[in-house]
Amino acid sequence: MRGAPGEEAPLRTLPAVTNPWARAQPRPARPTVGFLTDSTICIGCKACEVACKQWNRLPADGNNWLGISYDNTGHLGGDTWRHVKFLEQFDASREGGRWLFVSDVCKHCEDAGCMNVCPTGAIVRTEFGTVLVQDDICNGCGYCVGACPFGVIARSEVDHGAHKCTHCYDRLQIDEQPACAKACPTGSIAFGPLDELAERGRARVEELRRRGASGAQLWGDSPELAEGLHSLFVLSDDARRHGLPVAARTGRHNLLPSYAGHLAIGLAWAALSAFSLHRRARR
């Protein structure tokens, strides 16, 4: 990182904290990175969840017995940035069934719903193509929470700011991989340049299908999903069974039609009011 002079803008941490209007110079772009999470080799150990909590100093979730499976994390949230889902696909007789595990994470969308609506500019895209919440700017308005089409970002009960996976932005800057990928013992979580990961994911799906896993698919690279995601997943079943949508459009697409209808109704009502007032005035 500390290479040629002028490669990196000088850090200006103090003004950014004391003066919310201060702007840091954008850093020079780096190759776009992502995650490829291969659910077919995940063993459900939750080492990624623990490593994420440890590295990012996140509080524990508490003992909340959900009763849905051996997974008691349940959901991503403000203090839970990796979440291993346990899908139990058995019939009542327990004959012929399977466990599916998949480690869910922020998708770092191309068209990021959270970043679109953020009113303070706290949520930005970094030089690595990831989506980051700047905690010193966030005022906890909560708008991003409902705007995420994957239920990732949430407000923390601890500090009342919005939080989600940072892609370990601090580690990326020293050329380290994110904590979850580093901790994964089976290689289920791969980290790297996004285009290479997509290539790898497609090859893996092809191999799985050749071996007879007809339901295998790569999820995340479709433009139907928020213009494409930076977190890709190899799944062995329909994405919806994993609680993942097959199409996700951010609310940005509603802005123009909604404002247009608003303007039309407002102007028509104002014109009618003016007409009515004018008519009464002359009577």
Binding site: P149, G251, L255, G261, S276
Partner: protein, 321 residues
């Protein structure tokens, strides 16, 4: 026989959509203050527009309307800063909303509109007081007469935006009830027009002034609401509109909004003139419209939270598994 109890069959959830029925989205963490803000902001914006139009087009008969409009507008916007700031997770950073101008975020645009409009609204009320016998310093009285005239046109434009942008704010999320159609923007605008008109009409009824000029736009706003709400419900479809059809929000939406807020004032507006213009009828109609507008916003905001937590509404009908 083995004394050991047979192990219970593992939990499989073929009937629960998504990941074992777990929510797909996170519910927006707003509390009830935001409903009051949506309600009062709508009234304040349209009451200001009524006041400006009454000054421009209403002649001498428009004066009471202008006075009532300006005062209603300022009174409705007065608690809004507190409502907005207290709903933040980190209230001391409310000014971060204004550290950039970002039209892509309706909340950012709304913060700017709020800042500009609350000044215009306050000056409009100051103008009304300047022309009255209220005790004011001479300099303030002169400023109160001149500045609002210059601000009226931009003020009215921003007021129209401010009165209904909250519908677009909700439509810009991923919540099915709010974002499946872009109709909440126009619906909240029509409701703001009806509630703002009703608030001004209520004040005129109390002071004994003629509010007949407001009847035609009021009826039109209510009719537009009926059409927009019906289209909205139809286009949501049976799954996405579920939070309004059962549970807590059903009474608010159908009894409070459709019944008290739309049907009752529309029925009263069809009464013959001598009945309709009675003070009691005007007050009942205004109160019902206002209560209905509040119920609409409460049902939409609370219903949106239920909608976000409904995996079937988010994933679609094929989300079973």
């Amino acid at each position: 026989m083995s004394p050991r109890r047979e192990a219970a069959p593992p939990v499989a959830h073929p009937d629960r959509p998504g990941y074992a029925g777990q929510p797909v989205l996170n519910a927006p963490p707003w509390h009830h203050l935001i409903i009051w803000y949506f309600f009062l902001g709508g009234i304040s914006g349209t009451a200001y527009v009524i006041a400006v139009l009454a000054r421009w087009f209403g002649g001498a008969r428009g004066r009471p309307l202008a006075r009532a409009g300006h005062l209603v507008s300022a009174a409705a916007i007065a608690p809004a800063p507190a409502l907005l700031i207290l709903d933040l997770g980190r209230p001391a950073r409310f000014h971060h909303m204004l550290r950039l101008f970002k039209p892509l975020s309706p909340m950012n645009l709304g913060s700017w509109a709020f800042t500009g409009f609350s000044a215009a609204s306050a000056l409009g009320a100051l103008r009304t007081l300047s022309h009255s016998a209220a005790p004011l310093p001479a300099l303030l009285r002169r400023a109160g007469r001149l500045v609002p005239e210059l601000l009226s046109l931009p003020g009215a434009v921003v007021a129209l935006f401010f009165s209904g942008y909250t519908g677009t704010l909700l439509a810009a999320t991923a919540v099915p009830l709010w974002a499946r159609t872009p109709l909440l923007g126009p619906l909240f605008t029509a409701s703001a027009a009806a509630t703002g008109g009703a608030a001004v009409q209520g004040v005129l009824a109390v002071t004994g002034d003629d509010g007949a000029a407001l009847e035609l736009p009021e009826r039109a706003a209510l009719a537009a609401e009926v059409a927009l709400a019906a289209t909205w419900l139809h286009r949501l479809g049976p799954v996405a509109r579920r939070p309004l059809m059962s549970g807590r929000q059903r009474g608010l939406f159908w009894g409070g909004y459709a019944g008290a807020g739309l049907a009752l004032p529309l029925a009263l507006s069809l009464l013959p003139g001598d009945l309709r213009h009675r003070r009691s009828v005007r007050l009942v109609s205004a109160a019902a419209t206002l209560a209905g507008g509040f119920c609409l916003r409460a049902a939409v905001v609370r219903g949106g939270e239920a909608s976000a937590l409904d995996p079937e509404a988010v994933l679609g009908a094929a989300g079973g598994g």
